[in-house]
Symmetry: C2
């Protein structure tokens, strides 16, 4: 009945674990990254290029696909797998984060998973002329499309109905994603709504026929308040029928690991845990150490399109003058298509010339970097060697 | 000594022919299109994607690569093949067309190979605020970079030296590309310069060491004047040492075939003929009928990026509303990657969402359309069936 089957292969340290996550569209070896393909395409890459990089799963955004081309259009095409030509596992988020990030809590383009100070955030919002586009009540959220200003309403039932149309393997309960600036009182109120919405999402999901082909993950919220994170994990753990758990909302970067640990200690060990919207190398290591199995993050591909490239010695900016004549790959030891066939000088030329191939080649490298890092993390866990690996990686990566 | 070997496999009708053009980087079955990769990349595609489409050769632009990243940078990288990861044949043009098209004769973006009326052109130039950026004398051309306004000078010797650095298999003599509005007197003057420059290009090429790895094509000019085209073909035919011929300048679309025939009748039969910058389906047919072996044209990829797609029943614009829900490929009978895996509805979604994959998938289809058309043209020539094929294709293609 549960279409998602998760087997822990090995746990090392307190919480880090390697596993196998089986979906109706194939298995994923965890920990792993679900690569963000917001509008049903991972920007600048074909599915075959993703597969060659070692990508196992894709995460698409419910909010964007609902607005364009519309979830019914995707359903008519046979669902996202067929529409976008990706035969592997697909996740869709609940739409909650986008509804709020494009409205109440953040300015567009300034969306962040980590809390700025209240003052910084207020300044950013003022500078960006942020207008609150979302109105929330206990039943759901009314918001305006960032595309054309038209008014729409999402409820837990509607979010799940949209996700049923999109037909991803893993879908998420509708949740309220609060501002990092929200005070404790508001966080409590929002958390209660999120829990009530999780219940309604689950009930609607179980009552609908596609439930056997899609697994529903509940989302743990609670912001940066330990007691609320704990309460959220306890409440969702008690909901039988959830196929796994997402951990959402904002964190303080320094406390990321600690905040997740609190949650992982409570969640059932035989269900997968997904950290929503976070995936820089140092965060992946902290997340895995704290018990996370899957991640999603736009950083590798977004940074690639801006010319920021990962290396084991830290990030580089390919626009730096020194790369114009550099006749070596981004990383000598990298096994990606880009590093095997192209020099930094060629990439520097493509970026300066604003050629589309720049984004493709850079995305391939950055994704391969992250995928390979996660492959090595998995192997280190299996070898009971994770903590040594973590230290060694960070020593090189953060030194520069 | 001549690195370009051309064998005519079959001639049908008066001038249409199928052949094999051998270069230091492999053979091309002709007639064929050399796909334009202006800055050392065919926009939105990897070399592997080009190969999968059946593309045999690439043409890069000397003018652009001289300005960015610089031909010496390309030479340091081992030449264009290595720089851009394309192991097959590469052509570079002489830089002449760009120097003039970005300066004296046309407005940028309004570059055309076909003559508008004098009045139309004057209007266009006035509307686009065209400033003459190029100054010509008998020795060469002084021009300003369209990138930063810096002043540069191209002479025949300099053009060949740059092309030696780029290391393409086929390079072109420096020529003066006149405005379609130029009068007969000016055309004569320009043609004499082009012939004198061809001689100087050849002398410089033969005196330089890479000559054994690169074949030099002379360029026939003469605009829309039959006697000048004839004179140009005769003059260049007499220059021993040229590996082939380019036919440049502007044409009247209606007379394209007739203008080329005049030239082909004169040129030596055992040397390849390249039509510069023209490659719409109807032009390919007219060109092949008139004795052309190779073409280059930005149209298939440029149109693809704008959402204009070839079909055997004429071009379609994927932005048309009807395609939003069209769950069929661009062409049912097309064997390209895009048509085998994606619907018009998905492409319409990608274009409306401004996703980069739109350009990739559309370019693959349009290039495959042209490559397949040329493969079928070649087969029709071998089968002695070209004229029937031409009529049948045009009947479908131009009916809509």
């Amino acid at each position: 009945m549960n279409p998602i089957n998760f087997q822990v292969a090995k746990t090392t340290g307190r919480l880090a674990r390697a596993g196998v996550l089986a979906t109706p569209h194939g298995e994923m070896l965890t920990p792993t990254l679900t690569v963000v393909g917001t509008k049903g395409t991972v920007k600048a890459l074909t599915p075959e290029q993703l597969r060659a990089v070692g990508v196992q799963a894709v995460l698409a955004n419910t909010y964007h696909l609902y607005l364009e081309p519309g979830d019914e259009q995707v359903a008519a095409a046979g669902g996202l797998h067929q529409f976008m030509n990706w035969a592997g596992p697909i996740y869709t988020d609940s739409g909650g984060f986008q509804v709020f990030s494009l409205g109440a809590a953040y300015g567009e383009g300034g969306v962040t998973k980590f809390a700025a100070t209240g003052e910084q955030n207020a300044k950013t919002m003022a500078a960006e002329g942020v207008v609150k586009l979302a109105r929330i009540d206990d039943d759901g959220v009314t918001f305006k499309s960032h595309l054309d200003g038209s008014e729409h309403r999402l409820t837990p039932e509607k979010s799940i109905a949209i996700q049923h149309n999109l037909k991803a393997d893993v879908i998420f309960a509708f949740d309220e994603c609060t501002s990092p600036q929200a005070d404790y009182r508001y966080q409590v109120e929002a958390l209660e709504r999120t829990h009530s919405w999780a219940k309604r999402s689950l009930a609607y999901h179980q009552a609908s026929s596609p439930a056997e082909e899609q697994g529903l993950f509940g989302i743990i919220q609670g912001g940066r308040f330990e007691d609320l994170r704990r309460r959220s994990a306890e409440t969702l753990s008690a909901m039988t029928g959830l196929a796994g758990f997402g951990i959402g909302g904002s964190f303080s970067k320094a406390d990321l690991g600690a905040s997740i640990e609190i949650v992982s200690e409570i969640l059932p060990r035989d269900k997968p845990r997904h950290l929503l919207g976070i995936g820089e190398p140092e965060d992946l290591l902290a997340g895995v150490a704290a018990g996370i199995d899957t991640f999603d993050c736009v950083a590798p591909t977004r940074m690639a399109r801006n010319g920021t490239l990962y290396t084991r010695q830290g990030k580089i900016n390919i626009f730096n003058n020194r790369y114009r004549s550099a006749l070596r790959p981004i990383e000598e030891e990298c096994d990606c298509y880009t590093c095997r066939h192209y020099t930094q000088a060629y990439l520097a030329h493509l970026f300066r010339s604003k050629e589309m191939l720049a984004a493709t080649l850079a995305s391939i490298h950055n994704l391969r970097f992250i995928v390979r890092l996660l492959e090595e993390i998995r192997q280190a866990i299996l070898d009971n060697n994770f903590s040594t690996f973590q230290t060694a990686f960070l020593t090189d990566y953060c030194r520069h």
